[in-house]
Amino acid sequence: MPPTPTLRSLLARRRNATVEEVRETLHRFRSLVEQNDRVLELIADAGEKLGGEYVFDSKYLQDLAGALRDAAHSVVTTLNAISNDRYPELLDALAAIDESVKAALECRLAVPDSPYVLPLSEVGLPNLEAVGAKMARLGEVRSRLGCSVPEGFVVTTHACRDFLRSAGLLEAVEILGRRFAEGRDGLEVETARIHQGILEASIPRKLARAIRRAVARLVKPGEKDLLLAIRSSGVEEDGELSFAGQYESVLGVSVDDVCSAWQRVVASMYTPGVLDYLRQYHAPPGCGFMAVGVLRMVPVRASGVVYSLDPNAPENDVLVVSAALGLGKLVVEGGAPVDRLEISRDPGHEVVSRRLARKEHMFVAVPGRGAVVETVPESERLEPAVAPWELAELADTACRIEQYMKSAQDIEWAIDHAGRLYILQARPLRVTAPMKPPERNLSEVVGRYPVLMREKGEVACRGIGAGPVRIVADPEELPQRLAPGAVIVARAATPRLGGLLAGASAVITDLGNATGHFATVARELRVPTVVGAESATQTLVEGMEVTVDAEDNVVYGGRVEALLRYQLFERSSFADAAEFRILRRMLRRIAPLGLRDPTSPAFAANRCATYHDIIRFAHEKAIAELTEIGWVSTPSGVPWVRRLDLPIPLDLVLIDLGGGFRVEAGTTTVTVADLTSRPLLPVIEELTLGGAWETAPADMDLEGFMSSATRSMPLTGGLTGRPEQNLAIVSKEYLHLSLRLGYHFNIVDTHLGDTPADNYIYFRFVGGVTEITRRSRRAMLLKRILESHGFVAEGRGDLVVGRVKSLDADAMVHRLRMVGRLIGFTRQLDIHLRSDHLVDEYVARFLNGEAASPKV
């Protein structure tokens, strides 16, 4: 373990950096930036692979994991070399991520560190490993498609693991998993012992409390006899395996019995039947921990199951509905005749065939007794369980869920006494009939439709979708929600548009590329997407029916049923293939950026949860190390450090990592004409333009002055540990600009090259001279201006962070010019922002190209 550097050694280093030390540090910094870029490149690359455009195999996944690990380790090692081993704990964080990625690669399921209980409103496919597949899908159906589902919450896999640990069963579970994986027989005794142990153990107090509190939140004021359904939600059941009927679900549970019912459901994972099932399907043993849904029971009038396709005769193009009075137990478990209807999949959903059962019994939920059989009154026995209009809504909902999930669905539903439809469960349908091969001459059939666009732009997410065109010309005027099934045709692929993607049939944008944030969202939601199609908003007309083939990148006029059917009949959607599932899991441990705000206490080495976090942290800290070196006293004979000669009073030191500026012998400064750094030039040019550098004397009123006089000032130092030197670290295509102007601190970190995927701008602004209200107004203004230029901006108090990425070089130069102007414009602006309405005025001034103060 290297010795922790003393304050003295750090100070000495800061003040008296020798030429050799500086050279060495810069060399290391450059290598850190290169490896940092390498990680980002690998992440972007891997994200693109999820779109379905590429063929990749398990070797790719292994190579990816290896390359990421190597690059991330190199970044961390270099940071510690630059900083005298200031961040040893970063190595621990890195090791944990390595292990977690390895687990994903080996199909081992991880248990995420989630809360014990998550409300259904926070549940979806991204947290599948915490909430299990069944609840994750129910969460998606609720939040993405707006379907009614019962209110409720999920007791997570994390809760299950902690329970098994406290029950002393964790080791037994792990041993069982290993033995199962080795293919050993005779595990029944062990399984039964765990099963019994789960039922007999007491639930840790903290967990019991979390469950009770969540249950209490479900009880409405004055409500008595609330009944709950406790449903298993295993993480293993995310692919082709349905686990139908293998795990227990308990219906009609009263509020006081939730904990014991939860135990029963968890115990149902350890039965000989489940082991046989897993063996039969050659499934991995799973993680051994189960998530469980706790849902309000809907007061049902009728319920049942709908298949979005007839699993025995998929070519018939019908939905199959089974319906019973009361609870769906009769339908799911069989045992009595139920209504069976076939409904056309075509819009309008005509009933194709109907077979009504004589309904003598039904299940109802009774407080204290669970699901109980009741006799159906004689007069109602021959009535259909579901009314025609309810059938149409059911069919329509099933088709929408199928379209969203991209595979045929097996859906449990219920209708309450008011006729409201609830979705209780949606899972992939196992189609048993042999799949019909694609139509022999699909290309001939397709040839009969008019081609509206061909090979314009690039495919960001593969797939086929059809629907009416909905043109979104101005991203600022987006509606909150679009009618489901629309084909969105938009000018720009903005992150805001990403929020509307759920439920869209397909998306085409004029601008954008396949590695942008928007494309990532499209792939996460599996919406067929073409980006950068240049003139789609001109070519396509609002309301016209089109079919987007985001495989061959063709847009047809009309609804090409043959193509839509082809998509549905494809043996399994690629996104469900094992390699894709593994890549998705790996990416969850690699790509999300949790460490966003360097001024927050959470911006710490031990909070790094992904490789992205690691490099973000290391990059930030490496730059902090660089700015601590006493550059001003660096000998002028060093060719890579120069002061920039500017026509405005800005003292700026440049550090060249390569190709950033030209140096003439014998000089100590460089001029704007010497700059060769592509991202620095537009910023500086704009900043030094007449009028951009706000010079009007700031007329500070007493209130503002007192605030600044009494507020403690070590603002920038306190936040970042950086001295006052303005610094630009540059290379041909890179710029890191740290500016301390008055009392605020501004960072611009950017890459500008010819590959749009590598380009980004990171803009951070914090501080100011006035009281927090005015500083916050300036932050608000910055946020709005950044957003109007396509940045994703976040603000908190006087801090603003804006990001934009994957733009082409021209668009980057345009934004960097704006950034240059913005730095000058906002320099003293907080002093002027005496009221909220002035924010609008100054935003308008900036956007109109005016100076902050009228010229005198």
Partner: protein, 128 residues
Amino acid sequence: MKATRKKVLLLDDEPIVCERLKPALEKIGFYVESYTEGQKVVDRVMEETFDVLVTDLKMQKPDGLEVMDFVRQHAPATKVIIITGFATVDTAVETLKGGAVDFIAKPFKIRTLCDLIVKLTSSEPAAP
């Protein structure tokens, strides 16, 4: 008049590769058979003539190179495309010398392979 469909053989020991490529090629009008074992391809080539063989390199015996050699000898009209995750200049040169018409490194875009096969087969009548 309906054109006879061109015939493509796929060989890769990783099922995902065949599962992705087969429907994509069928969609644009090819007849496709896919296999995960080299021996099956060797058997099929003796029974029927195919226009194109797409094969991985590293596999259990017979591996991609051996299958290619066999096809070059017994079905010289069949064009061979190599797809591999172990792409180096040396392997590319070696396989092209061995008679492959093209060499594609994995991961690759489905479109790239489809376009290539369309190009290779467009000028000639389908194999009998």
